[in-house]
């Protein structure tokens, strides 16, 4: 790195090496802009957008983020994440308070939230321990089968999960005198959780554990030969992803104020996969982009379809078609499209590279 600034050159020569830029300087400009817009969003958007669009985006983004972590860094496409999230949601409904009176235990919030997350993490870890015995496509099949078993179980079991109807009136606790289900507090709550889990994934991906996990993804046998416990790393990845999914699941239940077998049904499970894949499985920001696209499509596709003179109920076809097109033409999602576009722009501008033809 050379600077044209003479003063800078003097500085560089006297100190030989420039000091490491502090972490604030390393954050690129677009991130600042996005962060600023996200913070002042309540000034711009109305309650519907805050609660329904952005709140839902962050929640789905978190659940899809946990899938992205497993798939992107661990090479394991797990379809169990929605079930883990649903487990945490059920945990909150069963341990805390709900409209179902006797079925809920009515614990205080500082107890039931951690316990719900821990239960979900244990569930995710057990499933992970089963799933890591297999590889690639088998993992998808097994997690899908377990997810569906969980769905049918919640639907048939009335003692714990209250069967078909599930739990309603599951609301966040009133903390610090704030009703967290009001649009603005809920927006900041989901935003905060989403940012935290995003940062956690970024941090873990650069930690020794994350690097070892990526090593396991690329060459399990070599990592095993180097003395790493491949299975333990994979299972630990499931545990970490389960915690993120669990937080997302609790928020999801609070947003809908209810949880039922439909929350963890096969369509919901597939939706999480669609979101993660459409966004892109390479980087942690992908799932949030995918979630925003999904939520926008889901919210406004009836209007779009009606605009084209079609029935508004066919939004699933629209979403499925969009998913198909993206998977067909860009297996790494919207982020992949963006990367390729950037790459092409860069090459066009580069005069040293064969006139930019390559």
């Amino acid at each position: 790195m050379s600077t044209t600034d003479p003063l800078g050159e003097i500085f560089a020569s006297t100190r030989r090496s420039r000091p490491e830029p502090s972490w604030i300087e390393r954050v690129p400009l677009p991130v600042w802009i996005v962060g600023f817009v996200a913070l002042i969003m309540p000034l711009i958007a109305n309650n519907f957008w805050l609660f329904q669009v952005f709140g839902w985006t962050f929640i789905l983004g978190m659940i899809a983020l946990s899938l992205m972590f497993l798939a992107g860094y661990g090479g394991m496409v797990s379809l169990i994440q929605m079930s883990v999230a649903g487990m945490a949601g059920y945990g909150v409904a069963i341990l805390g308070t709900s409209g179902m009176g006797d079925l809920s235990l009515g614990w205080p919030w500082w107890l039931y939230i951690p316990v719900a997350i821990i239960i979900a993490a244990i569930f995710g870890t057990i499933v992970g321990a089963l799933a890591v015995r297999t590889e690639g496509i088998y993992t998808i099949m097994i997690t899908l089968a377990i997810a569906s078993a969980f769905f049918y179980f919640t639907r048939q079991n009335y003692e714990i999960f209250n069967g078909y109807s599930g739990f309603n009136l599951v609301v966040p606790p009133r903390l610090f005198g704030v009703d967290w289900r009001r649009p603005i507090p809920f927006y900041y709550l989901t935003l905060g959780c989403a940012v935290l889990s995003y940062l956690a994934v970024v941090y873990v991906s650069r930690s020794p554990f994350g690097l070892a996990l990526q090593g396991v993804r690329d060459g399990p046998r070599r990592m095993a030969a180097l003395g790493y416990n491949v299975t333990a790393h994979r299972i630990a990845a499931y545990t970490f992803a389960s915690v993120i999914a669990a937080v997302g699941g609790i928020l999801l239940v609070w947003q809908n104020s209810q949880v039922s077998p439909g929350t963890v049904g096969i369509p919901a499970v597939i939706d999480i996969l669609v979101i993660a894949v459409v966004g892109g499985l390479r980087r942690p920001i992908g799932p949030f982009i995918g979630a925003l696209i999904y939520v926008l499509l889901r919210t406004f596709s009836p209007d779009i379809l009606l605009g084209f003179g079609l029935s508004g109920e066919r939004f699933k076809t629209l979403i499925g078609m969009g998913f198909l097109l993206i998977v067909f033409f860009s297996p790494d999602g919207v982020l992949g499209l963006w990367d390729r576009w950037r790459e092409r722009q860069r090459r066009k501008r580069d005069p040293l590279r064969d006139g930019g033809k390559r």
Partner: protein, 337 residues
């Protein structure tokens, strides 16, 4: 078989014993003490027969899935959609023509054509990319499910059983004694027996074709080493197309059968996709006898579970899968690759 017995004498002993006990439970008349513990024999027999029939249906659907996977490594998660599509088409045909039997060949050909399109247009474009195939077929199944919902609506359909198959048939199996002390034989819907026999016949035919014919030789060679088969001058893409069409057609026929003795409604596609997934996970990928064993196991556990522990019947299925995964990750009859 002999090799297995020699290698694992204890396991074969346990399996033989379990089979013997099961057969005795089915065939022998139950004493009053036993009825006190296990309930009426009729209930048990009905659950067993229901389970075996359901297993036959699962086998028809899962056999295509496992064959396609074993030969081509193609993961067709739209298999359940093919099942439901076959069912709806069968319903339309049998309603219009009034012939139940006529629906089978027509649906087989139609759904087989859909399978050919899938193989030729989707899977050949992404050969070897299992993950992408999975995603694409999930997308296809979402779109197909919505289009079928559009065409046939949300209500459930049942395909009418033809007259000559409706009503019960008496089986030479004792279900109990009536008040006068006479033995009563099991009565079971004739159409289910027909389904069971048809599934067995199809299974045996498949086994014969796979093991005794030239085509079967090609398919088995393809399963073992695709590249070598292609190198020895076989037009492997034709074999692929044939197998894919056959598997898809089988799923379509499964749809008619499922629509006859259960019902067709949105959501059945995922149910049968998952059933085939579990069946092939339990039985072993790419193995037809494995699919048969897995299907019967899963069907039996589902039906017996429904009778004896209604809340936990799904959990039994799941437990079987977990046990198989824990002790034999490649499936009961699967081979490690």
């Amino acid at each position: 078989m002999q090799e297995f017995i020699q290698r694992r004498p204890i396991w074969s002993g346990i399996i033989a014993l379990a089979l013997a006990v099961f057969l005795w439970l089915v065939l022998a008349p139950w004493s009053p003490e036993m009825e006190a513990v296990m309930g009426r024999k009729r209930v048990f027999l009905n659950a067993v027969f229901g389970g075996v029939t359901l297993g036959a249906l699962y086998f028809l659907v899962a056999a295509g899935f496992t064959l396609i996977f074993g030969l081509m490594r193609n993961v067709n998660l739209a298999h359940g959609s093919l099942y439901l599509l076959g069912g709806y088409l069968g319903f339309e045909i049998s309603e219009r023509t009034g012939s139940w039997l006529l629906a089978f060949p027509i649906v087989f050909v139609l759904v087989g054509l859909v399978g050919i399109i899938l193989q030729n247009q989707v899977f050949r474009r992404m050969e070897g990319e299992e993950l992408r195939q999975t995603m694409v077929t999930i997308g296809i199944s979402v779109v197909l499910a919505d289009l079928m919902l559009w065409t046939w609506g949300g209500q459930s359909y049942t395909i009418m059983t033809p007259d000559w198959l409706s009503g019960p048939a008496e089986l030479p199996i004792i279900s109990g004694t009536n008040r006068d002390g006479e033995t009563v034989f099991l009565r079971y819907p004739a159409v289910r027996i027909a389904i069971l026999i048809a599934a067995i016949v199809i299974g045996v035919l498949m086994w014969l074709i796979l093991n005794k014919s030239r085509l079967g030789m090609l398919i088995r060679a393809g399963v073992d080493d695709r590249d070598m088969l292609a190198a020895s001058g076989i037009r492997i893409q034709w074999v692929f197309l044939a197998v894919f069409a056959f598997g898809a057609g089988l799923a379509g026929i499964g749809g008619i059968i499922g629509g006859t003795f259960q019902s067709l409604s949105p959501g059945e596609d995922t149910r049968f996709l998952l059933a085939s997934l579990v069946v092939v996970i339990v039985g072993g990928m790419g193995s037809i006898p494995g699919a048969a064993i897995g299907a019967v196991l899963i069907g039996l556990s589902e039906q017996l579970g429904l009778v004896y522990a209604p809340t936990y019947s799904v959990v039994f299925t799941f437990l079987i899968m977990v046990a198989v995964l824990a002790f034999r990750p490649q499936g009961l009859l699967g081979r490690t690759r």
